[in-house]
């Protein structure tokens, strides 16, 4: 319907069939299985009439606003694997798909090891939202503007997936395929997101642009992670992820590559900025025109890279 609010970037619009303006929600079945296998079986059975419920901060809102039409919600919060949050300095971090943001930033070891991730999880909504919203839900909702996804991309995360055909893994940058769509097949669900252990002299930073100071959807987001040499003058490896400038959050390999091409300098960072701008294919919407987004992605990538380098040098 024309008069329905334009969906915020990336929220899949299930065009409402009615022209009612109410926020009432239709009755829906709810179930809370205890094992991954049960959850997968339910999803397999119902296909796109069922979806997973993690924190519910996206899915409930979408149901209320008739942006999605479902018969069944499968609550995964009783399943052990999706609640796991473990950090091992040698092996890295495992974030169960339903772990809410606050558990991540309240863990001191994790906060110390992954400051870039903390930037992102503490930006999602406000304190209330963070006590429910999960990183897995943020990823599976597949909004191009999701705040944690660009950072996960920059941090080289891997998605662990369970399903009727057994487990599989995907690099996070290939997980989202279109606004509201993921690489998950029928019956599959995300179990956890694994991050490699931080390397020596590494740093990461995420930031976003919103028109006010809290509680808003990113107009553009940018995450950067860098690994510096012993002298901290050169970049050995770098990854840049950007959000809200394409149908999915993007890894910009050229931007990362630009940074490992000589001694760190403003000129070098500018090359990464240019690469990010070139990769961005934004649209115009209520939050900003395509031109503005293209401009902003450059500004944010520059600041994210500077922030990441700063953190790597501080360590």
């Amino acid at each position: 319907m024309l008069w329905l609010a334009e969906p915020p970037l990336g929220h899949k619009l299930n065009k409402a069939k009615t022209h009612l303006w109410d926020d009432s929600m239709k009755d829906i079945d709810y179930t809370a299985p205890r094992t991954l296998a049960e959850a997968a079986a339910l999803l397999n059975d119902k296909g796109d009439r069922a979806r997973i419920l993690a924190g519910g901060t996206d899915i409930i809102v979408q149901l209320r606003e008739h942006r999605r039409d479902l018969d069944l919600l499968v609550d995964v919060k009783n399943i052990a694997e999706v609640n796991e949050l473990t950090f091992d300095p040698a092996r890295g971090l495992r974030i169960g798909a339903a772990v809410p943001c606050y558990r991540i930033y309240e863990n001191k070891d994790i906060a110390k090891a992954y400051p870039g991730l903390i930037d992102a999880v503490s930006l999602v909504g406000g304190v209330q939202i963070q006590s429910r919203a999960s990183v897995g839900g943020n990823l599976c909702n597949a909004s191009p503007a999701a705040d944690t996804t660009p950072m996960l991309i920059a941090l080289e995360a891997t998605c662990h997936i369970a399903g009727p055909q057994g487990p599989r893994q995907l690099p996070v940058e290939t997980f989202c395929t279109a606004p509201g769509r993921t690489a998950l097949e029928r019956g599959e669900l995300l179990v956890s997101i694994d991050l490699p252990a931080p390397k020596p002299h590494s740093g990461a930073h995420y930031l976003r642009f919103i028109p006010r100071n809290e509680m808003d959807i990113a107009v553009v987001g940018a995450g950067a992670s860098v690994v510096l040499d012993d002298k901290k003058q050169k970049c050995l490896a770098a990854r840049i992820g950007v959000g809200a400038v394409a149908p999915t959050p993007l890894l910009v390999p050229d931007a990362g590559a630009a940074l490992v091409d000589g001694a760190l300098s403003d000129a070098l960072i500018d090359k990464a900025v240019q690469a990010a701008r070139a990769a961005a294919k934004p649209i115009s919407d209520m939050r900003g025109t395509a031109e503005y987004r293209k401009h902003l992605v450059g500004v944010l990538v520059k600041r994210a890279v500077q922030g990441a380098i700063h953190r790597a040098r501080e360590k």
Binding site: M1, L2, W3, A5, E6, P8, T18, H19, L20, W21, D22, D23, S24, K26, E65, F209, P211, R212, N213, E214, M215, D216, I217, M286, R287, G288, T289, Y292, H295, L296, V299
Partner: protein
């Protein structure tokens, strides 16, 4: 009156505990046996002809009790209090996205939804008229058949503008644009209709004007007003958006048809799509001054997009024109005001009635002028500011105007205006800091020549407790608190002894609308008057009992005082004795806003004559790479005449400034072809706690000499008015680039910078 009892103290609002603990009941909390849920059906088109409207299938659904179309309205199908030109239910043509087509009442929400879905409407979409400038042209077609698209066109002139412009040393000439803005009250519009045993109707209404709602409901039902009762439960904000009646009329119609209680509450999206918005203005303004910065002339032409129906368009344009010269001495002024009908959202009352749009123009002009002349913004304002006794361009003589300059000086002192550069204009390569001020005036009251009165009923019981009946709606602004304080003070009892009954037309006389910053003055005075005969009775008894002359007796804090010394006799004891003797302890107080009879001729129609003056100064930090503006500090100095309830005054300032920051920087309804795209608080960006700096406030008390209770004048509107221009002028100071459009979004600031990216600090 002796030393301050309740008045002037930081008191807690009656009901505050209930509100914060969730016990207070608002319209959506009301429930009655057999209550139905009401809903309205809207058109998916901004403009369409209704070819067929068939509700038969909807009426057949079990659980659907009433389905109404225009044909089922017993009384008049057009509403609006001033000029009833908006249909309650569309007859044949939908003229904007919020025009309701049908109303249903059903046993629950889902059944009501099903009923709406079952209504068969065949629309023929029509080409809408969405551009007000195009709508003014000949051959544009008519938005409302038989009515000119130009709803209003008036010009006011004083002095000789042409001659003044010819003799001017400097002229600034700019075109300003402002946006549609949303009230975003916490509680959306709602009403609960009940049918009384005798066929009358009672409506609980989330409104600003219960007696006026009563008139409109009676008109729609075809009932005498005596058969309609309107009660205000707790109300969660209004800001002008509930000045007009809304769904309370539909709730009454449905209840009347269903013979059962009906609750009709607008959803948030529905609310945003249907109720009036702040008028968007296009203003062309020329301001002329002498070499030394004295204002010579102001010439402006304002065009507003009114949407299809009148609502408060006349009033808003009237106030815009009244204030376009600002709080300055301007001898030559010309203002042309044009309102145009379109198929866009309807527009109406919103905190300030056109004064915020005017202030954005005149205060921006002042800074552009100051820059051109190389003058300090403070200096040019002090040079031109009005004072007590100044005759304004409207013909009004300012009775008490010291606060104009006093607020400027005090705000400058609080901000450290003279030392402002010292903090660092460029704290980082990409950041620029700037300071800007705006000073304004806003009238209180409806304006000379318009009805502006209120009455209250006051009664003391034998135990000394007091009940006050007032028809003034309390939407959260706190009029109930102020009236309780005034009653307590004038009867010499504690505030806790006074119970103010929330406005109920069956019990309280008319107080008019809670708008135009007027209720403290009109209802406040009515309370003071009502208290006189009761106090007389009490003192009479006291004099008889003590044998002391009446002029030595005072009631205070629930006790008699003789020569300033507390006496054994309590007010309760006096009340008991007074009743025994048959002295009256109940009375009506009535007050009508006074205008001095001997004033010089006032040439501007409906001029207000009591002024709230205030100055705000903003300190902003602009990110020159993103265009984002952060308000780092904001100083607000306001004149309240006399603070009856300081907490209420400061609260109004805080709320107004917060709303003003949103108006300045982010709030804007995006409307395309008559459809609002961001009809949710997810996409309509209001400021949050982190966007509001800790406000630095001061309140001046310059008592109003005439007609204000204890000198108090209103405060509810002025706080939002200077915020946007103060921020605009601070941005100008920071980046050296002027903006002429609201809101000043990051993208707009950036494009202003594009011409001269990040100019070096001045």
């Amino acid at each position: 009156m002796i030393d301050s009892g309740a008045v002037g103290r930081w008191v807690s609002a009656p009901g505050a505990y209930d509100i914060v603990t969730g016990k207070a009941r608002y319209c959506p909390d009301l429930d009655f046996p057999g209550m139905l849920i009401g809903k309205l059906l809207y058109s998916p088109h901004a403009r369409a002809c209704i070819r067929r409207l068939d509700v038969t299938a909807a009426r057949m659904i079990p659980g659907v009790i009433a389905v109404l179309t225009h044909a089922d309205i017993p009384g008049e199908n057009s509403y609006l209090y001033a000029e009833p030109d908006q249909p309650l239910l569309v007859v044949d043509e939908v003229r904007f996205q919020g025009d309701a087509v049908a109303a249903v009442a059903a046993i629950d929400e889902q059944t009501a939804d099903a009923a709406l879905r079952a209504i068969d409407v065949e629309y023929q979409a029509l080409d809408g008229i969405f551009d007000p400038l195009a709508a003014m042209q000949a051959g544009a077609g008519q938005v409302v058949a038989g009515k000119d698209n130009i709803m209003m066109h008036k010009t006011y002139r004083t002095g000789d503008v042409a001659a003044a412009l010819a003799s001017a040393h400097v002229i600034v000439e700019n075109t300003y644009r402002t946006q549609w803005a949303e009230h975003a009250f916490l509680e959306t519009e709602g009403g609960v209709g009940l049918v009384d045993a005798d066929g009358g109707v009672t409506v609980y209404s989330s409104c600003q004007a219960p007696h006026r709602d009563r008139m409109q409901i009676a008109r729609a039902l075809g009932l005498p007003e005596s058969r309609v009762r309107v009660i205000t439960p707790y109300i969660g904000g209004a800001f002008g958006g509930k000045d007009e009646a809304h769904v309370q009329i539909h709730a009454a119609l449905l209840a009347h048809a269903a013979r059962r209680p009906v609750r009709l509450i607008r959803g948030r999206r529905e609310s945003i799509l249907t109720h009036v918005k702040r008028h968007p203005f296009i203003v062309h303004c020329i301001t002329a001054a002498t070499r030394d910065g004295r204002l010579l002339a102001v010439k402006a032409r304002a065009i507003v997009d009114a949407g299809p129906y009148s609502n408060a368009t006349h009033e808003v344009l009237n106030k815009f024109g009244e204030f376009i010269g600002g709080p300055y001495t301007v001898k030559n002024l010309e203002i042309e005001k044009i309102a145009v009908r379109t198929n866009n959202p309807i527009t109406g009352a919103f905190r300030g009635f056109g004064a915020p749009q005017a202030a954005f123009v005149y205060e921006s002009q002042m800074d552009d002028l100051a820059r051109k002349l190389g003058m300090d913004p403070l200096e040019i304002r002090l040079l031109n500011g009005v004072d007590t006794g100044t005759r304004m361009y409207t013909g009004v003589v300012v009775r008490e105007g010291k606060a104009m300059k006093a607020s400027l000086r005090r705000a400058a002192e609080m901000m450290g205006w003279q030392q402002r550069g010292e903090l660092g204009r460029q704290p980082a390569t990409h950041l620029r800091r700037g300071w800007g001020m705006a000073t304004i005036l806003k009238g209180s009251g409806m304006g000379r020549g318009l009805p502006d009165h209120a009455a209250v009923l006051l009664e003391m019981h034998r135990d000394g407790s007091v009940v006050l009946q007032s028809g003034a709606a309390d939407m959260g602004q706190g009029i109930v608190t102020v009236l309780a304080q005034l009653a307590a003070e004038s009867l010499g009892v504690e505030m806790s002894s006074v119970h103010v009954v929330r406005a109920d037309t069956a019990q309280a006389p008319d107080a008019g609308a809670s708008c135009a910053s007027r209720q403290v003055m009109v209802s406040g005075n009515a309370v003071l008057r009502a208290a006189v005969p009761i106090r007389d009775s009490l003192l009479q008894v006291a004099a008889e009992k003590t044998g002391v002359a009446r002029d030595r007796l005072v009631l205070h804090g629930g006790r008699l005082h003789v020569d300033g010394q507390a006496h054994d006799l309590t007010v309760a004891e006096l009340a008991r004795r007074a009743l025994f003797r048959g002295y009256p302890l109940q009375s009506e107080g009535r007050y009508e806003l006074e205008y001095p009879a001997d004033a010089p001729e006032v040439t501007y129609r409906y001029s207000q004559e009591v002024f709230q003056f205030c100055t705000q100064i903003a300190q902003v930090l602009v990110d020159c790479e993103t265009g984002q503006v952060a308000v780092e500090r904001l100083v607000a100095v306001h004149d309240a005449g006399k603070m009856i309830n300081p907490g209420g005054v400061y609260g109004q300032i805080e709320g107004g400034v917060a709303q003003g920051i949103g108006y300045a920087l982010t709030e804007e309804l995006r409307v395309t072809e008559g459809h609002t795209l961001n009809a949710s608080l997810e996409n309509y960006v209001i400021p949050m706690a982190l966007d509001i700096p800790e406000l630095e406030m001061d309140v001046l008390e310059m008592p109003e000499p005439l007609g204000a209770p204890l000198g108090a004048k209103g405060i509810a509107e002025s706080p939002i008015i200077p915020t946007a221009p103060a921020i605009r002028n601070a941005i100008l100071d920071a980046i050296g680039r002027p903006l002429y459009q609201l809101p000043m979004t990051a993208e707009r600031v950036l494009s202003a910078l594009d011409a001269a990216p990040c100019a070096d600090p001045a």
